[in-house]
């Protein structure tokens, strides 16, 4: 077997050597940083995921950067779920782009363990003004074992409740403050023939967001922290078991829209149910605001309210706690040439959050993780939503990173699969807990 390993490593080295040779000959103009704007400059590459507004903003930012003559970065966009597999295969095959888009956490740790991404710690720290231009808490998910491997980008995306106020008025109902309110509203809306809650359950991570919040509200952040730390039987913590039971009660009460297990979030059909007045509530990431705004601008102005996830009476979690994606992240491929890395670094320093780009994020209805955004929010057309997100993130005692990103890929896949079974009631709370306990440490 060791022979086999050796031959594979030999192959990879040969491949890397070849790649380096090709890249070197491609930018045969001496030091790439000095090679100036035109023609001769090396090209770096970036892969990211499709979907407006981020896709358009990134393209514009890269175009603007290309005009500054520090090199160009070619972008390629993939659909979200497909990207997560494609990027891993590409990294494994030594074909990774210079800039690797990600979510930090467990997946990033996998790249770090395999030595596939560059340690950026000293480069980040050498420009402290630049480092401080990011919302401080967002560096966390990009830091593995005390070293920075990923730079935060895009918007901070806590998961929040979205309410269709027109349907609430129609039913004469108040926005929910507690879990009991949610259960009560389920009855109210069902009796009026309105779907209480929209959920794109076919995507599974959408259902996961409900469990993330229930874990927190019932038992506080420690419940998941124990799982993350790999403690034995952490998935069968009494608070966790209570959360599974509560979610199945909500499903039994027809809290989620009919057929929710077949609705996928990739097509934004779950959001469509909310803005076409078919469902009254939706739990979704902060990006849904921008998406709904571009799909139906009228809705976000007139019929949308957002709020924090309801409290659970007697629960330990602070209702100000958040779950979601603190940010998106860029990592640098260890296989990229020095020239490519320099271009990517130059863009991250000067282009990624330049004034125009921060403006574009705010205008699209997001709160970018750049501190410069704060001043721009107040004058934005979406200031209600943006202020809510900005204040929530700043006031949150704990911002739980999405589980499927925090955990390793193996655990994450098992979790999403079991969540799908839990939500379709193929398994009960006990079975879920024991199936998940078996994944701890993998």
């Amino acid at each position: 077997m060791s022979e086999f390993q050796l031959s594979r490593r030999g192959l990879l080295t040969a491949g890397a050597g070849l790649a380096a040779a090709v890249t070197l000959s491609a930018c045969s103009g001496g030091s790439p940083a000095a090679s100036g704007g035109s023609g001769g400059a090396a090209k770096a590459s970036a892969w990211a995921i499709t979907g407006q507004p981020n896709e358009g903003i990134l393209k514009k930012s890269l175009e603007a950067f290309a005009k500054r003559g520090k090199g160009t970065i070619e972008s390629t966009f993939f659909q979200n779920d497909a990207y997560k597999q494609k990027i891993r295969t590409a990294i494994g095959a030594g074909q990774a782009p210079t800039l690797i888009y990600g979510w930090g956490g467990g997946i990033l740790k996998g790249y770090v363990d395999a030595g596939q991404v560059v340690d950026l710690t000293s480069w980040v720290n050498e420009d402290s003004a630049w480092k401080q231009s990011f919302v401080a808490s967002t560096w966390g998910a990009g830091t593995i074992d005390g070293k920075i491997y990923a730079v935060p980008t895009n918007n901070t995306q806590p998961v929040v409740m979205y309410y269709n106020t027109k349907l609430f008025e129609q039913a004469g109902a108040e926005l929910p403050k507690t879990w009991d309110d949610v259960l009560h509203l389920t009855e109210v809306f069902n009796s009026k023939g309105i779907a209480p809650i929209s959920l794109g359950g076919g995507s599974n991570w959408t259902s996961m967001m409900w469990l993330e919040y229930l874990f927190d509200r019932v038992g506080g952040p420690e419940v998941f922290a124990n799982i993350y730390a790999g403690k034995a039987d952490a998935w069968s913590d009494p608070s966790a078991l209570k959360a599974y039971t509560m979610i199945q009660q909500l499903i039994d009460a027809n809290g989620f829209v009919k057929g929710f297990q077949t609705i996928t979030a990739d097509s934004n059909a779950d959001q469509a149910l909310l803005y076409t007045d078919k469902a009254a509530m939706l739990l979704h990431g902060g990006w849904a605001y921008g998406a709904m705004k571009s799909a139906q601008p009228d809705f976000v102005v007139k019929r949308l309210k957002v709020g924090a996830f309801p409290a659970v009476t007697g629960g330990k979690g602070d209702p100000k706690n958040l779950a979601g994606n603190p940010a998106n992240y860029w990592s640098l491929s260890a296989k990229a040439s020095a020239a490519e890395q320099d271009i990517a670094k130059a863009w991250m320093r000067d282009g990624m959050f330049d004034d125009a780009t921060v403006d574009a994020f705010v205008a699209s209805g997001g709160v970018p993780v750049a501190t410069a955004a704060k001043a721009k929010i107040a004058s934005s057309a979406d200031k209600d939503f943006l202020t809510f997100v900005f204040d929530s993130v700043n006031a949150a005692p704990n911002f739980q990173q999405s589980w499927d990103q925090a955990l390793s890929a193996t655990q994450s896949e098992a979790m999403l699969n079991n969540i799908s079974q839990l939500f379709s009631k193929q398994i009960g709370p006990e079975q879920f807990a024991s199936a998940m306990n078996a994944t701890i440490g993998k």
Partner: protein, 298 residues
């Protein structure tokens, strides 16, 4: 004697040379990966890190996992139901459009339409049509169509129905060709003997289609073993594990859970099952090469 020997030799050498390119491709693209998969099944590999040999661990893990057996059960069900549904329908349709009447030719064109579409396109189209909130039911205002078609209970039969919709045209085409090759004299003789059209179908058409049935069945059985794309796009194996067939299970383990060792175990199981099936079905056909009654047949 020597002369005969040399002539056989000169005939054989160029033939073997002609087979060489295909053989090389087969070795590089089929045999080599196969060996790789077998080796990987005795290792643990996350796709980007070191490949670590772990003996039988992956095999034990996969064989002890109820998910594997669920997937195997679904795959066998897919195979049996696919065959049982598609074969009779394809034979009947194939026999029907083998006739020379013009209206049959027109209908045949419509039957073949699904053959022109890619699996991904079919899956996306059906997924949209079957959406309980924005699908066909909502569009046509027919509430009975607003079922939870891809929910836990219905997802598997619905997926099988879509697969049938996609593949029946292909097998119909095979049977049409088969039926058209049956010598007309057999039917004429049977008519003179007073056999009804039903009896002609049972006693002439079906036996004469024996080899077409074997070909079509092999394609169906081995095809449904590795069926992937349509299910992947339509349901991703869900809800829960309701449509997680073996090939999909392999993909999810390998490329989502990053357990290449476990995925390779499934791959080996698939290869063994597939080869066994193909051999078994060929055996069913018997070795009696003189069985054909086609005109000019051996």
């Amino acid at each position: 004697m020597t002369g005969a020997h040399t002539s056989a030799g000169t005939r054989d050498t160029p033939l073997a040379l002609l087979a060489l390119p295909a053989l090389v491709f087969f070795l590089i693209f089929a045999v080599a990966p196969l060996i790789g998969v077998v080796i990987l099944s005795f290792t643990s590999w996350d796709g980007i890190g070191e490949i670590l040999p772990n003996g039988l661990e992956s095999w034990q893990m996969v064989l002890a996992d109820p998910m594997t057996w669920n997937a195997l059960g679904l795959t066998l069900a897919t195979m049996v139901i696919t065959w049982a549904v598609q074969t009779p329908l394809s034979i009947l349709l194939g026999t029907f459009i083998a006739g020379q009447q013009r209206y049959r030719a027109v209908l045949a064109v419509f039957y073949f339409l699904p053959l022109l579409l890619s699996s991904a396109a079919i899956a996306i189209a059906f997924k949209a049509l079957l959406d309980p909130n924005f699908g066909l039911g909502a569009g046509l205002n027919l509430p009975f169509l607003n079922q939870d078609w891809l929910g836990v209970e219905l997802a598997f039969p619905v997926v099988l129905a879509v697969i049938a919709w996609q593949f029946i045209p292909f097998h119909t085409l095979l049977y049409q060709g088969g039926v058209r090759q049956i010598p007309q004299q057999l039917y004429e003789a049977a008519s003179i003997d007073g056999a009804s059209r039903f009896r002609q179908f049972i006693h002439i058409t079906l036996p004469q289609l024996k080899y077409t049935i074997i070909t079509s069945s092999t394609l169906m059985l081995v095809g449904s073993l590795t069926y992937f794309d349509l299910v992947f796009v339509m349901t991703q194996g869900g809800p829960g594990n309701a449509t997680r067939i073996l090939a999909l299970d392999m993909y999810i383990r390998g490329f989502r859970a990053n357990q290449m060792g476990a995925a390779s175990v499934i791959a080996v199981i698939l290869v063994v099952l597939g080869l066994g099936l193909a051999l078994g079905v060929q055996r069913l056909g018997g070795k009696d090469k003189t069985a054909s009654q086609l005109e000019g047949g051996v």
